[in-house]
Symmetry: C2
Subunit: 506 residues, 2 copies
């Protein structure tokens, strides 16, 4: 509400600087982008391609953000399929793609955003390639997470898992760039290639530059930012618009506590390159922007590879199954964190079990020659674990899972001793997470206020806003980077185009 | 952010009216209270008792709000116990009371608020009596909901249920006024007696008066409200402060969708007297107030009385138990809404089952002479329901429930045919709910901004703010009315006291 003068040291994201308090513009550009992850790089390209001059501020000393920690798959499909899909025999109908993405969006999926994404995904794939990101057309079947082989197409979500497969024809849609190195290889390449392109188009990049606050006039129009760099507080004018691409708030403990306190017990596993402090969301709110779905997280659990672990069964501390184990690990992790009682176990037999990567922090809790021995050793109530395994095995032998409809290829009778219960409790096993809540935006990137009206001159993309993925339970890998890059581009375009209307001219 | 002039018809809660745009003050008071439920009435008394003149605007044609629909129990205890507790043999230690309330607050319980409440609960009980609310000292044991008998003390939460009873010594703490009539009898009496008192102290009450927006100056100080009444748009000056007591947002479908979309399938069961439209929360946000825990709901499920139903067991559509059935129904309802699959059943035998009230909308789904027959008829996977009942019965016969630690008095072997599965699916059975998220406040009622700093001249109490109860899973009956009345009083005191500092003088 208030636009108050601030002493230099007191600028904060939560208080916009009044235009009338700007002593001078130290820098000027048509568009100012805040943050240099995938969303920021795409926004810079989008704006520059539309003829705007772009200045980008990044708080770190190099580009990448949390995007560069990602495996790098981007969720693509529809329109008959990408080349990788088609060459591997997957025809992906736009309506199936749309329906799946709407499920993935949760109960408040943004239909306009999902529709735009579904219809433009192939175009977007071409665009990514045009920016210099190479893709093979190879497919890795089965359960794969960031394989680091340079292969392209993977199953990256719940498409083939119940109940999703009944509502949209399953198709693999995770598209990895041809990059070596597993975690971070693909994400790093994407940001680097987009960054190279943004810079080739003339983006003026400032590293070690912390944006402190927005600059707004009395009619709430955004005119620029206050930025701290090279030991100075500077005022950067954005003639056409500011685009917030500064990430989520997984490192802001206060915001986690006030909006998603159930995540605090996972806080050591926050997935961030170090700057997801929620400052972009606070800046948007400081000028009346609405923040929505602030309780929602992406949270996952690396219980595979090896994918044979998917043939195990997951139980809570009462020995009950609670999810189909072939679901996306994000859905599994969301369910794990909701069980009453703190203990979760993966049950596996000699035939299926392989030690997961050290990253997972999973430890074998009990081993036995019979399931009854495991039951006793791990402290389950007599008969409970044995019953769960008996029901599962009885049906698995027939290729069925009437309780959770796990797909046949992941069904195995767990009858080869020794048997094991592997501990994977939230707060102990590795549950990496980041935040999905943020500013309310139009697909164009325009930040909306509490009444759903746009705030002139203000845009957001990536995890500073609540985008395509809005739900811990339904997330699929590749949706956040897909959202960052496509809607980052669009926000850049929109911000650049605003100039034509002279809307943000002083 | 913006303080823009508005045409008369365009004032909205989300946009504050600029002080400079106020043509004249049509009314003036030291303190303006918005909303005439329990919080508003208590706030008016608190302010008037401190010497302030008070004007109260209520959008409905009479007082009551959603408070008047409540059974009327107020959560009280600690300090050795209320008279009702002591006379019935319950000594309630303040630290047990505090620990229980901290659990009930969820992972972001407000320790300062809980501490203040725990230490002042007996004083508050005295105060309620001084306002004219009569209490007996009788105790109704067992599982009781709004009995309407005029008896006082009831078990109204999870105190005696696992795991709560292990962390704080159990004690009944729901205190009902001596009012006839079940639902609404007690809540109606509380609002009426507090309202009578507020009016006796000179509160100037305006019914059919919709507060449209706050009036704020450029430094974000609140000076009054814009209110629509008697066909006119009027400007009411609040010399010392405005107190928002306008309830939650359970009737605002947009806000539900953007913050708690999982509740939309229950939307027909919204618990509201008709005006919980979130306008107070939006008004607070319009001047920079933070809204927190906006995803949290109170939701419940009236599967008793008759309390013998608590001896039944609850299962999801896989025939698995998922909660101790003697927990507070709010905890049960929260768990019901989180199960994968849409069907929930209460299993009961001839000895335990009685048809719940019509209100519950529970229907018998299957009946059989054996549990295997019920299993088949209701479509459970063979052996699953029978196993669940077998494990339960085997332990119940020994007075034990190793899976969920249901208390012994609610354990019964379910072995007397006929057996029944009663459907209680979310979206079908009656799941009344209201919202718990709202403005961030200090215990004093001061509304806080995104940085945790108070907004001068603005206060809130009741469900317009996130108060004592912050979690669907841990709510206990009487906590919301307790919060409304004690912190309503305190907000009134604080707002009135602000005058001494001349802080809000123009």
């Amino acid at each position: 509400m208030s636009i108050q003068p601030h002493a230099e040291s007191t600028y904060t994201p939560s208080h916009a600087c009044a235009l009338s308090d700007v002593p001078q513009w130290d820098l000027e550009a048509d568009v100012v982008v805040v943050g240099y992850g995938a969303a920021g790089a795409a926004a810079a390209i989008g704006a520059a391609s539309a003829g705007a001059s772009v200045t980008l501020f990044e708080v770190a000393s190099g580009r990448g953000g949390t995007s560069a920690m990602a495996g790098g798959d981007i969720y693509l499909g529809g329109n008959g399929g990408t080349s990788a899909q088609r060459e591997n025999g997957f025809e992906d109908d736009t309506e199936d793609f749309y329906r799946y993405m709407m499920m993935a969006g949760g109960p408040d999926a943004d239909a306009a955003r999902v529709r735009f994404y579904a219809e433009n995904a192939l175009d977007h794939h071409r665009w990514l390639q045009e920016q210099g990101i190479p893709y093979r057309t190879t497919h890795l079947p089965g359960k794969v997470m960031a394989p680091g082989t340079g292969d392209c197409l993977i199953w990256s979500g719940n498409e083939a898992a119940w109940p999703f497969r009944e509502r949209a024809k399953p198709c693999p849609r995770g598209h990895l760039p041809d990059a070596a190195g597993a975690l971070g290889g693909g994400g790093r390449m994407i940001v680097d290639r987009l960054g190279d392109r943004a810079e080739a188009l003339g983006t003026d990049v400032h590293f070690d530059a912390r944006v402190l606050a927005l600059v707004a006039d009395e009619e709430r129009r955004i005119h620029g930012v206050v930025v701290r760099s090279e030991g100075q507080t500077r005022f950067a004018r954005a003639r056409r618009g500011v685009i917030l691409c500064s990430g989520g708030f997984v490192l802001n403990e206060d915001m986690l506590r006030l909006h998603a306190p159930q995540s605090l017990r996972l806080a050591d596993d926050a997935l961030s390159a170090g700057h997801d402090d929620g400052s972009g969301i606070l800046m948007g709110q400081s000028v009346g922007g609405a923040a929505i779905h602030m309780d929602e997280l992406f949270v996952t659990l690396a219980f595979y590879p090896p994918s044979s672990n998917v043939k195990g069964i997951l139980v809570n501390e009462r020995g009950q199954r609670f999810v189909n184990e072939d679901a996306y690990p994000g859905r599994i992790a969301a369910q794990c964190t909701r069980q009453i009682g703190n203990r979760i176990f993966l049950l596996a037999d000699h035939a299926t079990f392989e030690q997961p990567s050290e990253l997972s922090r999973m430890e074998v809790a009990a081993v036995g020659g019979t399931w009854a021995e495991v039951e006793r050793e791990a402290g389950f109530v007599e008969g409970t674990l044995v019953h769960t395994v008996e029901v599962f095995n009885r049906h698995a032998a027939r290729g069925e899972d009437p309780l959770f409809h796990k797909a046949e290829e992941w069904l195995a009778v767990l009858d080869e001793p020794p048997f094991a219960a592997v501990a994977m409790h939230p707060g102990e096993a590795f549950y990496p997470f980041f935040t999905l809540g943020g500013l309310r935006t139009r697909p164009t990137g325009e930040v909306l206020d509490l009444e759903g009206e746009p705030i002139a001159g203000l845009y957001a993309a990536g995890r500073a806003c609540s985008g395509l993925p809005r739900s811990a339970e339904f997330y699929s890998s590749g949706m956040s980077l897909g959202d960052c890059t496509l809607f980052g581009r669009l926000a850049g375009h929109t911000a650049a185009g605003a100039a034509a209307n002279g809307e943000n001219a002083r």
